[in-house]
């Protein structure tokens, strides 16, 4: 559904995205993770043609997006929820819906009614009179009712209270389950990514560091906790199979995902006083990859 090869972008000579290879299969829900400024919004804007790429290629729906015309065609099948959730301040809720509906022949009236009821949006109010939560809900309604095959969302739940967040996540999960649409979204809320996504892609400083099926990643990665009598030896960082290392006093925490048993055996040769192996959470994966040594 989404495929990029060697996608690169820099702003005034400063690289924001470096040779990104991304593959999001049809029907999947992919969480796009990274710290602020990692390149998530840049990637989404490149996919939608809001930015011009420096290098690389983009394929959406199996077609290359290499011209304005192909971009327009792709956007006809795509919905986007931007981070700022800004809509036209001179339009009411009803006018905004009517305006957006006109561009999408596949518009779903049933979903429009459903989400209007669910979100309790006041149809006659203008956008500036809506709360931030309501504006987010309206934006999600516009995205979900347009009959798109691909939903690209930049932090869709930012600024929502927990109850609203749950409502929105449920609506997205229902939509993905019933219509089989592909969802590609960025979020800093790792719990909601774990709840909703079947795939994750993590980027850091413009480069991809993890990409795969969430359950597979959790099964592959292990945390190895080692306690030493003194400071953890420096050789730990260079052990084969160690992805990341964090040290804290006499403790060393290793993240490994290739042949974990072999890593444990090699670590034991360094004479720790205790060795523990734990499964990892998405949060640990995230933190280790963006903060690890």
């Amino acid at each position: 559904m989404i495929s990029t090869h060697g996608l690169s972008k820099s702003y005034e000579g400063k690289p924001a995205l470096i040779h990104l290879d991304l593959a999001v299969p049809r029907g999947s829900i992919c969480g796009f993770l990274g710290r602020n400024g990692a390149g998530k919004t840049t990637t989404m804007k490149l996919l939608l043609g809001m930015l011009r790429r420096d290098a690389g290629s983009i394929w959406l729906f199996g077609e290359p997006v290499d011209s304005e015309e192909s971009g327009v065609t792709a956007r006809r099948r795509t919905a986007f929820v931007s981070e700022d959730k800004e809509l036209y301040p001179f339009m009411t809720v009803d006018q905004t819906i009517r305006f957006t509906r006109a561009f999408f022949p596949t518009w779903r009236r049933d979903l429009e009614e459903k989400y209007l009821d669910l979100f309790q949006l006041p149809r006659k109010k203008t956008v500036p009179k809506l709360s931030r939560g309501m504006r987010t809900q309206l934006m999600l309604l516009l995205a979900m009712a347009r009959g798109a095959e691909l939903l690209i969302m930049d932090e869709p739940t930012s600024g929502l209270d927990p109850a609203l967040t749950e409502e929105v996540l449920q609506a997205l999960a229902d939509l993905a389950a019933s219509d089989g649409i592909t969802i590609f979204f960025s979020s800093h809320q790792l719990a909601e990514v774990e709840q909703l996504c079947d795939r994750v892609c993590l980027i850091d400083r413009g480069q991809k560091v993890i990409d795969g099926v969430l359950d597979d990643l959790k099964a592959e990665y292990r945390r190895i906790l080692l306690v030493f009598e003194g400071e953890p030896p420096r050789e730990l960082a260079s052990l084969p199979g160690v992805d990341h290392l964090r040290r804290n006093g006499r403790t060393a925490s290793l993240l490994a995902h290739v042949d974990v048993d072999a890593v444990v055996d090699r670590a034991r040769e360094l004479m720790p006083i205790s060795v523990e192996v734990h499964p990892v959470t998405l949060k640990e994966l995230f933190l280790d990859h963006v903060k690890g040594e």
Binding site: L48, G49, L51, S82, E86, L87, P89
Partner: protein, 233 residues
């Protein structure tokens, strides 16, 4: 629907301009009805009205070109205005079409207001004006206002609204100063083409400024398309 959106976005500017024009028109009427200033000949009053209207042509063209994609930036959003640019760009519409609709509606409204103002000037003229003279003046007033509009559209593709307004004004003030000093500029300046001071109503069509205005408008709008298509948002 893009036309509808463009109208919703522009209607308050249009209303403001209509209000401004009414003020310019009604102020002299009010002054003369109270006898102030006394003894000003009708021809001079008319010339004052005409000069005021030329300034309004320019203001109208610059102001109506201001509402567009660039007025919806995040910068504007953080300043208390809206930042709906990303929503617009996520629609399945080419940037060329976005510009075409935005510039098209603004140009249409500019033409309407300039035609009304030019018509009013002709109505208030102390001497009789023939239909041909009226047509020639209406045509050159509209055509010579278009490069002012087109330049503002181009600048609006690059700069935020406040800078767009100021830089467009700066360019036309520079042209105004240059036309008094440089012979070539004086001959082809659109500002002279729209004025009844430089080319009286009895003069034939001033082809040089009209032709230059048409070419300039085409070039500036083409440049706007190029800039918009290459711009990162």
């Amino acid at each position: 629907m893009l036309w509808y959106k463009a109208w919703l976005e522009t209607r308050w500017r249009f209303a403001f301009l209509v209000g401004s024009i009414l003020v310019v028109w009604l102020a002299p009427l009010w002054i003369s009805s109270t006898g102030v200033p006394p003894g000003v000949p009708a021809a001079k009053q008319w010339m004052g009205l005409q000069l005021g209207s030329v300034l309004l042509y320019i203001f109208t063209a610059i102001y109506l070109a201001g509402s567009g994609i660039n007025s919806q930036t995040l910068y504007a959003a953080t300043s208390g205005f809206h930042g709906s640019m990303l929503f617009t760009l996520s629609l399945p519409v080419s940037r060329r079409r976005l510009l075409f609709v935005r510039a098209g509606l603004g140009a249409l409204l500019t033409c309407i207001l300039v035609a009304i103002m030019a018509g009013y000037i002709l109505l208030r003229r102390p001497e009789a004006t023939s239909a041909l003279q009226s047509l020639v003046y209406l045509t050159r007033a509209i055509v010579c206002t278009m490069p002012v509009y087109a330049l503002s559209v181009l600048v609006a593709c690059v700069l935020d609204e406040m800078w767009q307004f100021m830089s467009a004004c700066f360019v036309w003030v520079a042209v105004f100063l240059l036309q008094a000093r440089v012979e070539v500029v004086s001959r082809v300046s659109p500002l002279r083409g729209m004025s009844l001071n430089c080319y009286p109503i009895t003069a034939p069509m001033p082809w040089a400024p009209v032709a230059v205005s048409l070419v300039l408008t085409g070039v500036l709008l083409s440049l706007s398309v190029l800039v918009l298509q290459r711009k990162d948002y």
